[in-house]
């Protein structure tokens, strides 16, 4: 999955752009990893996916940093196995992780690289919120199609 998700993001989802932003499958993947495996795993997976997406997009260092931060933030939404949480609670956690990690990752990216010369505030406040929203919609769709079953197990 670690090899596939960045490819799907780079060659598929990054082309579905609305006002220059697109939904981010990697953030959803990191949120899912964080929920089931914890913060250490999500941070490591974030770092690894950052390397792949960085090599593909040409901005290696910044992508590594952004994805590591996303994985780390998503890790705060981890639910231990012993908690016996319901599927609904886990789903809420995933959505929370997607929004928080996506928004923070976008903010770091906005500070690090600005290829369209947009105002940083506009990128963080408007495009960051829009990207988080699009990613959340994708997370809802993926949850409805695939994740719900995994979370119920």
């Amino acid at each position: 999955m670690l090899g596939i998700v960045p490819l799907v993001q780079e060659f598929g989802l990054s082309r579905l752009s609305l006002f220059g932003v697109s939904p981010d499958a990697i953030t959803i993947y990191l949120a899912f990893i964080a929920l089931i495996a914890g913060q250490r795993s999500s941070t490591s997976f974030g770092f690894a996916s950052g390397i792949i997406i960085g090599i593909l997009s040409g901005n290696i260092g910044l992508n590594m940093l952004v994805r590591t931060i996303e994985g780390f933030i998503a890790g705060y939404f981890h639910i231990p196995d012993s908690s016996h949480s319901t599927t609904k609670q886990k789903t809420r956690r995933i959505y929370g992780a997607v929004v928080m990690a996506g928004f923070c990752g976008n903010a770091v990216f906005a500070i690090g690289y600005n290829p369209l010369a947009l105002s940083p505030l506009y990128r963080i406040a408007v495009l960051g919120v829009l990207e988080s929203f699009l990613t959340l919609i994708l997370a809802v769709i993926l949850n409805w199609l695939f994740l719900r079953k995994s979370l119920a197990d």
Partner: protein, 280 residues
Amino acid sequence: MRKFFSFFINYNTYLLFVVYCSIALLFMKLQNDDFVTKLRNSGMEFTALMSEKLGSYSYLLNLQKENDRLMQVNTDLLSRVLSLETAATDERNRQKILADTTINASKFTLARVVERRFSDRENMLVIDAGWRNGIKKDMTVLTPEGLVGRVTSVTEHYARVMPLIHPDFKVSVVSDKSNSMGILSWNGGREFIAHVEHVPISSHLALNEQMVTSDFSTFSIRGVPVGRVVSIKPDKLFYTVEVRLAVDFSSLSQVLVAPLKAEPEKVEISSDNSTGEPFF
């Protein structure tokens, strides 16, 4: 020692996070290093190859539209050729003066745009011509309509192009009628409007004048159309000039790559400021 190990065990996630972030920052610092550049270029080669494969399907589906556009370009070029032929007789006497050794159309390379990114995270083009086709860094990329950008990195089969509508792109331009000179750049906003800086208030620049690349540019061949002046606002010393760009970046599919303008002495003397005097 025990405390150290217990600290390490208790906070290992934070330490891991700090290590990863440090590595990422190191990569950002060394982004022009040989190893990182090679890694980036191989990634670009792969991305371009995949994009080309994916793009070829939509390319086939849009052939009708592409044919119509090319027909329109042909019509425009035909009208230009006809008007040029009429003027050719008058121009013959001035041919020696107008002959410019820096422009040799036979050496232009035709390339197809295989990847186009214009988002808040990326702003670049990838063309399907690399060093195997004679493409080199800093070559000018253009279409019959006007300037597109400059080559920033090259692999065996592909080249990455920084478009004119990138905040880091600057080119020296001159107007065709009043000969007013300035530096063209794009500062964000609308993708078809760029700005010309350093046009003195004393110049006679008028609306609708065409701006073309000047001989002052260190990379671009001269005379490439850039756009038309649509707004001139006077400031204290300089005009604030807006130019409507000649190239429609939203429908760019084929480009030409001009041969490299080899002027090492000019670059050398331009960058040499040992006398301490300002250089313009």
